[in-house]
């Protein structure tokens, strides 16, 4: 799957789970610090939603290692392709 395709799908998921009215506008460098709605509680909700949408499964190691959205997408790519 194309990286930007992943991003567009991710944006939808973030906007839906975090109900972001102005849109998520995710980039490689986006972190939880940039989105107030993204916290410990919504994080796991996001993970679950992403896994469902992309039919993939993350390990707890992956979940904790990501420094930003870019790194998350990297591990998604490795699973999707």
């Amino acid at each position: 799957m194309e990286r930007e395709e992943i991003f567009s799908k991710l944006n939808e998921i973030f906007e839906d789970v975090l109900d972001l009215e102005e849109g998520a506008n995710l980039t490689d460098s986006t972190t939880a610090n940039d989105i107030e709605e993204w916290d410990s509680l919504s994080h796991i909700q996001l993970i679950v939603a992403i896994e469902k949408a992309f039919k993939i499964k993350f390990t707890s190691l992956e979940i904790m290692k990501w420094a930003n959205v870019g790194e998350m997408v990297d591990s998604m790519e490795s699973k999707l392709n």
Partner: protein, 241 residues
């Protein structure tokens, strides 16, 4: 002593039943009459002669009232309020419907109030009693995200414990609270990856077990009546780390 434990077929309640029964106490415990729990209840009753299981559904007024009616016969010395209906973590405060506040209160506080009042009636007469309320460490400081209902209802119950200290200590009835950290039980089912993370971040690298908390319930059961009004956190001192 004659001891009533609510929710005795799983998690902390079950561990407490098994611990106190071995000390020779006459243990009564309530259980939700599902197939699974009924089986557990029966097994406990057959394994131990000094155990009696009574079905109870916190969500049905008749069930609760019927249960309280039976309590008079048990001549209780100790009441352990253990049952909580619902899971600790739900959603944010602003996304929690007012009806959910009502329901959580009605299914948890009201039955606990009725059972505690029934116990106090007996204890006042005999001028002896111990009430042990299972709260949660979430009442200390700021609760985790999504804990609105659980933390607030438990805070209500903890303040009720202060009321009991104020009004019934003179009848030689004590009331103590235990504030346990997260325990891995069916009650709070958490994504296994969160669990792994919690474990790694835990100062002892292992989560609290129901048996460890049951030991502190036993402490209050065995303690002198001078031990009263205690709020005992069991959280590896991590609360504020």
């Amino acid at each position: 002593m004659n001891i009533l434990i609510t929710g005795g077929t799983s998690g902390l309640g079950k561990a407490t039943v098994e611990l106190l029964v071995r000390d020779g106490h006459q243990v009564f415990f309530s259980y939700l009459a599902t197939e699974e729990f009924t089986a557990v209840a029966k097994e406990l009753e057959t394994t131990y002669s000094n155990v009696k299981a009574i079905p109870l559904n916190f969500c049905e007024t008749e069930s609760v009232d019927g249960f309280c009616g039976k309590m008079k016969e048990w001549d209780l010395d100790v009441l352990v309020n253990c049952t909580y209906v619902g899971k600790p973590q739900n959603t944010y405060f602003h996304k929690t419907a007012p009806e959910d506040f009502m329901n959580a209160f009605e299914m948890n506080i009201i039955p606990t109030v009725k059972i505690t009042q029934a116990a106090i009636e007996v204890m006042k007469k005999k001028k002896f009693g111990k009430i042990i309320n299972i709260i949660t460490e979430a009442v200390i400081g700021l609760p985790p995200m999504g804990y609105t209902l659980y933390a607030c209802n438990k805070a209500y119950l903890m303040k009720l414990s202060d009321v009991i200290n104020k009004e019934y200590t003179r009848y030689n009835i004590t009331c103590n609270c235990i504030l346990p950290a997260y325990m891995q039980t069916n009650f709070a089912t958490v994504d296994e990856r969160i669990l792994e993370q919690m474990q790694q971040e835990h100062p002892l690298k292992k989560l609290l077990t129901v048996d460890e908390v049951a030991q502190s319930i036993k402490f209050f059961v065995d303690a002198s009546q001078q031990v009263n009004g205690v709020k005992l956190p069991i959280n590896a001192g991590t609360m504020l780390l």
